[in-house]
Symmetry: C2
Subunit: 406 residues, 2 copies
């Protein structure tokens, strides 16, 4: 008789975004006239830029000819894209990452989950609190999280690093030394960033203890502050302790195009095993590469025109972030993030609970948000707002929320 | 200190196709004038058909407009594609599969590996011998295969089901009752198929023992024989014991486009858990859907024009299979498969070893093949030939091999 993976059965039922969607649906049904603006979901809305569209059309045409057809590609990604990434995202910043350290994939979400395959089950995993749920759920599925404690909203084998107002939403090295440390900067959901000095502390800590940092840098394109590294490999010592996850989703509006990459440096070894070799084996065995057409589209953002076009979109979203941050601050609310990140982390007024404030904003301003408590216990008392919407709708949403406090 | 997944370190080093590629390269360097024809790799060569190309162009255009842009899609695939699959691949054959039982993915290889996530580590897994290496390697990585025994070419916890001439290359229910059974029909590498009656034996066996059949049907489009089911769900009882893997790779030349799907019926439960719910949770947590443009391309093969165009390509490959099978049989060689499958399983003459015969054919006919021994111990004494090449090159290759025996 087949035994199912019992760890799946321990996962708490409802997923944050499903519950948000359900509440919006229920409200809309009861108030069909309400024009709800969603500042809740972290999905982009600007179309693919012309250079990407042109590159994808050209690739589709190639695929329709005998000479230009591409069948199975390299599992790690085409050389043209790995080279472009190595040059454009690393060499251009003075960071030496070689193409054979880059693994192109269908998404940072997939990679952040799948990376667990190369690690043993008995590692201690540290996550920020609040946190992007994928890190937690994938480790729970693999048996690294232990048991879920409903009353605490925590798993008993995970180490939680509170990111709260008192520490500037910056995780601190925990007392119990973890083996695997997830860091995300610019952060989802808080919009906080790690400076080079802060990141150096983590790199030294990981190297000292033989830990591995899983560094999610999906929102890198939003960084404007000079002291915030765009890649963990700007920090000395990172090549012996870090794996970096990057994505075209937010950088180039690829959420519906599915392309990302993971960097595993050659020097990264544990127990005598090269993690680059292990990840390569994992990808070659359980993955078969990203569509040729999509890889051509991704490569197009490394041309000067492509670069200018995607940065115009990023600027559009940045302006939304500014509008949200400044508008709500002016209304007397306390906002964090939103400078180097597309996320604004709003403190609920008067200690109102996340879900209660979510309901109030939905009801009184017809604006959908994401309750901070859904990202972990330390997210209680906050809601997350995203800058990925339409500019006019974002302004309207901010006015409506501000009006609640006039 | 991080502990790596020790199971990875047990995997034997060289991968079959890398070794084949290496030997070809070495030969080509020593004989630069040789025009080597590859009947070795299972990759398609015909371009994408016009209906698919048109649908992908239209979708790329949509993605370039604010109104037509598609961000994150459903992790399970768009409804338009799941509906088309349910209708075109199942209802059209009188089989009731609902869209919510279909999970669109980036490849059958990914799914065949990732499906292991929902099963416990302590299940006993049965595989055919010879076998598509992905089933074995992914289970080895997950710790279900035990230890690799170099001298036997086998893992000590896997149950091997020999598929040899004596049993018509058809696996027989093993004495030790497994929990998970991988079946592949039409088979890679032998080109053998399971008839409806043969499959019924397996379905009854799995239901009787609470086992789950993982049914790889990636080569379904090649079936011509009336008694060979196109889906395991044509067999009564399969809905309570089987998961089916299907792919657009060979059906529609999508090896470079990356699209496949997995069917998990609602009735399939083990230990009180619904496998459909578990796979849904797995995909929602560790996967983020297939590119919109690719899904539009896949949906285009369910139009009458699309269907006619892809079947013309399949007919092209089928003719190659016939040319190989009949040409080599006429030369006095013994061939299996190649009727309902793109693979021909050639018995080496005079009991020559697989790798030796590979070298002989490469040297004397300048034709690249795949040694059967690379697929498992029972593949010794065979080589695999594929029908996916250019028609003229395939005819030339067959003549050259035939000439070795004149």
């Amino acid at each position: 008789m087949v035994k199912v993976n019992e760890n799946f059965l321990k996962l708490p039922g409802s997923y944050l975004f499903s519950e948000v969607a359900r509440r919006i649906r229920v409200y809309q049904e009861a108030h069909p006239e309400a024009e709800i603006i969603k500042l809740s979901i972290g999905d982009v809305t600007r179309p693919l830029v012309p250079e990407v569209v042109a590159a994808m059309h050209a690739a589709v045409d190639e695929m329709g000819t005998a000479e230009g057809f591409h069948g199975y590609g390299p599992e790690q990604g085409y050389e043209f894209l790995r080279e472009a990434i190595a040059q454009g995202d690393y060499a251009a910043r003075g960071v030496d990452i070689q193409p054979n350290e880059i693994f192109v994939s269908d998404g940072a979400k997939s990679d952040c989950g799948n990376i667990g395959d190369i690690f043993g089950v008995d590692n201690v995993v540290a996550v920020c609190d609040p946190v992007y749920p994928v890190y937690v759920d994938t480790n729970a599925m693999a048996g690294r999280a232990g048991e879920y404690q409903e009353e605490l909203g925590k798993w008993n084998r995970l180490v939680y690093m509170p990111c709260v107002e008192e520490n500037g939403f910056s995780p601190q090295p925990p007392e119990e030394i973890p083996d695997i440390i997830y860091l995300c900067s610019p952060n989802n959901p808080t919009g906080a960033v790690l400076t080079k000095d802060q990141l150096k502390v983590w790199v030294d800590y990981a190297n000292a203890h033989g830990a591995v940092i899983l560094y999610d840098s999906a929102y890198e394109a939003f960084i404007t502050s000079g002291d915030v590294p765009h890649t963990i490999f700007e920090v000395e010592g990172a090549r012996t302790c870090a794996i970096e996850f990057r994505s075209f989703s937010k950088t180039a509006g690829f959420t519906g195009n599915r392309c990302a990459y993971t960097v595993v440096p050659m020097e990264l070894e544990r127990g005598g095993a090269k993690l680059n070799t292990m990840w390569n084996r994992r990808q070659c065995t359980k993955f078969n590469g990203v569509p040729y057409v999509v890889q051509r589209g991704a490569a197009a953002i490394y041309t000067p025109e492509g670069r200018a076009q995607i940065m115009a979109n990023i600027d559009y979203y940045r302006e939304n972030a500014r509008v949200i941050r400044e508008g709500l601050t002016a209304a007397g609310l306390e906002c964090f993030g939103g400078v180097d990140a597309p996320y604004i982390w709003l403190k609920t007024p008067d200690g109102v609970g996340s879900w209660d404030f979510f309901d109030q904003v939905l009801d009184r301003a017809n604006v959908a948000t994401t309750p901070g408590a859904g990202f972990g216990p330390s997210g209680e008392g906050y809601i997350r707002l995203t800058a990925f919407g339409d500019a006019q709708a974002t302004r309207t949403a901010v006015e409506r929320v501000a009006n609640m406090f006039r």
